[in-house]
Symmetry: C2
Subunit: 309 residues, 2 copies
C-alpha cells in the first residue's frame, strides 16, 4: 500500500486565515522550522494507479494539483481521475466539503456512516455530485467491506469502528446530552491489503483512547492519529478559543490521559500525528513539545508525506 | 479603488481535476503560454486596508494565502482579517463554497439576493458561520447600498442588478420553465467609490448582453465580464460536455451574439474577461482566439491581476 498525507492540519489549515497566533504568524513570515499545511485528508492505493481518499478537505483541489499521483491521466481519456472512492470519518466541514471539488460528471463512490450521509443528503450543494455517477454507500460499523468505485475494485478492505467523539460543530444540539452526538458521528478506519496481509489505522478525530480502542490498536503496524492539540487547554491559554480539547472532541498529545501516554504500551510500529491544529506547539520543529513527541516515538505528519507498507 | 483578481477560472478551475482537454493537459505539463487559475472571485478595497470579496470560491483559502493584502495583520490582534464583507452574485458552488473557509468566529457581512440567501439557509454546512458574527444581508435589486462589515464602513457603494442567467445547476428544476430560474438568481454588481466618483462593473455570469444591460454598461470605466466560453458549442465540439453555453447560462466571447460584438459599440474603458472555462482557447496565450480577443480590445484576467482606478 501507498499512503499519502494530502493534508496534515486540522480545520482551518496552517496558517488559519484569521489567526495571528505564534505559529500562524511564524509560518506566514517564513520563519525556519514552520511548514504550511492544508486540511485533513489522506489518500491510499494498493497499486499506485487507483486511489481512495480518506476524508475530502476544503483544500482538495490544491491537494490534487500538488500530488501527481492524483492527476488525470491523458492516456486514459478526455475525462479521468485516479480517485475512485472517498471514505468519510465524520461530518466536519474540513472532512466533507472537498467533495464539492469532485464534480464534473466523474464517477466515484462515497462511503460514510448513516449519520454523515444524512448530512450530505440535507445539504443541496452536494447535489453537484450526480446520483447516478456518485453512489453514496452506507458504512456499517465493525463489518469489513471491499472498497470499490467507478467499476474498479481497489483491492483494499475497510473496517469502520466507532471512536469516542462528538457530532460536527455546526450540527451540535445544545439541548441534548453530549450535544446530540450519536454512534457513527466519529469513526476510525482500518485499511487492509488482504493479499499482502498488511493494515493501518486512520483516526483523525478521537476524544479519548479508551480501553476498547486501545485493545483494537494494540500491535498495529501504523496508526495515523488525532494530533489536534498538545495540551487540552492550549487554545484557552493562548487566548484563541474558549474551549478545551475535551469540549471539542479531541484528546491531547500530552498529559496523563493524552495519546502519548495511551499508546506507550500498545506496541504500535509507527505512530503518526495528523489533523494538527494551528495552536499546537509541535508545529514548531524546534520546540520542546516537538522534541518530546518525537522522543516518545511519534512522527508529526506533513503534507506530501508518503508511507509505504 | 484596488481590485484584485483572486481567481479567474470558471467552476472547476484550471486545470480541472478530472480533465485532459488540450488546455488542461498543457497547463498540467507546464507548456509555456498556459497559466494555472483558481476559481472565480475578486477582492476590492477603497483604502487597501479593508477588503470585500466579490464571490467566495472553493479555492478561497489558497487565494488568501497567495494574496498578502488579505493576510491577518499581527499588529491588529490574535484574530484578524482584512476581509469585512462578501458579496455573492449567484448560488453556484464555485461562488459560495468559499464562505466555509471564513469560519473561526471572525465577523464579516454576507450580501446576497433572497434567492441565494435561501440556498445558504437551506444548507446547514453554512452554519459554521455564526449567526451573531456573520450577518446575512439581503440585496435589493437596483437599490444602491453602502458596503460594511465587522463594524467597518468600506467606503464603497454597491448596486446590484438582474442579468440574463440561470439558476445554479444543482438547484435546477427540470419540470419548470427555464429550469426554475427567477430574477435574482444571477446578478451583476456596480461598485462605486462615491468620494473619487469612480465605478466598475462585475458580471461573472451572463447569458446574453441584451439592450437593457448594454445601456447600463455604456461608457463604463471597467467591466469584468463572463469569459466562460469562446464559442457557444466548444464543450460539445471538444467532447467534454453535452451542453452549449446558452444551456449553461453563459454567453460566448465570439459570434454575432457574443460579448465581443455586444461590447464593440459600448465605449467601455477597460474590458476584462474573468470566469474563464478550461475549454476556452484563449487560455493558450499563443492561440488565434487569444489574439482575436486582445485585438478586439479585451484583456484576459489572471490570478493575482491588480487593477487600480
Amino acid at each position: 500500500m501507498i499512503i499519502k498525507v494530502l493534508g496534515s492540519a486540522a480545520g482551518g489549515g496552517f496558517p488559519q486565515w484569521n489567526c495571528n497566533c505564534r505559529n500562524c504568524a511564524a509560518v506566514r513570515a517564513g520563519v525556519p522550522g514552520f511548514r504550511a499545511r492544508t486540511q485533513s485528508s489522506l489518500a491510499v492505493s494498493r497499486d499506485g494507479v487507483n486511489w481512495a481518499l480518506l476524508n475530502a478537505s476544503p483544500d482538495l483541489r490544491q491537494q490534487i494539483n500538488d500530488t501527481p499521483q492524483l492527476h488525470a491521466d491523458p492516456k486514459l481519456g478526455l475525462r479521468h481521475s485516479p480517485i475512485k472512492a472517498a471514505v468519510l470519518t465524520n461530518g466536519d466541514v474540513d472532512h466533507i466539503i472537498g467533495l464539492i471539488n469532485l464534480r464534473e460528471a466523474q464517477p466515484f463512490s462515497i462511503y460514510a456512516s448513516d449519520r454523515v450521509l444524512a448530512t450530505l443528503h440535507a445539504n443541496s450543494v452536494f447535489q453537484v455530485l450526480a446520483d447516478g455517477l456518485v453512489p453514496r454507500i452506507e458504512i456499517a460499523l465493525d463489518k469489513p467491506f471491499e472498497l470499490e468505485g467507478a467499476g474498479v475494485d481497489l483491492g483494499l478492505t475497510v473496517e469502520a469502528f466507532a471512536v469516542p467523539g462528538k457530532v460536527a460543530l455546526y450540527l451540535e444540539d445544545a439541548s441534548s446530552a453530549d450535544f446530540g452526538s450519536q454512534e457513527g458521528d466519529t469513526i476510525g478506519l482500518k485499511i487492509t491489503d488482504p493479499v499482502e496481509k498488511k493494515s493501518f489505522f486512520y483516526i483523525p478525530g478521537c476524544a479519548t483512547v479508551d480501553e476498547k480502542l486501545g485493545a483494537r490498536l494494540k500491535g498495529a503496524s501504523i496508526v495515523f492519529f488525532d494530533g489536534t492539540l498538545f495540551t487540552d487547554d492550549e487554545m484557552l491559554e493562548q487566548g484563541l478559543l474558549n474551549k478545551t480539547g475535551a469540549r471539542m472532541g479531541h484528546t491531547s498529545m500530552s498529559g496523563a490521559s493524552g495519546s502519548i501516554a495511551a499508546f506507550s504500551k500498545l506496541g504500535v510500529g509507527r505512530l503518526i500525528y495528523v489533523h494538527i491544529n494551528n495552536s499546537n506547539p509541535v508545529l514548531d520543529e524546534n520546540s520542546p513539545a516537538r522534541k518530546s513527541v518525537e522522543g516518545a516515538g511519534w512522527e508529526v505528519g506533513y503534507d506530501g508525506m508518503e508511507v509505504r507498507l
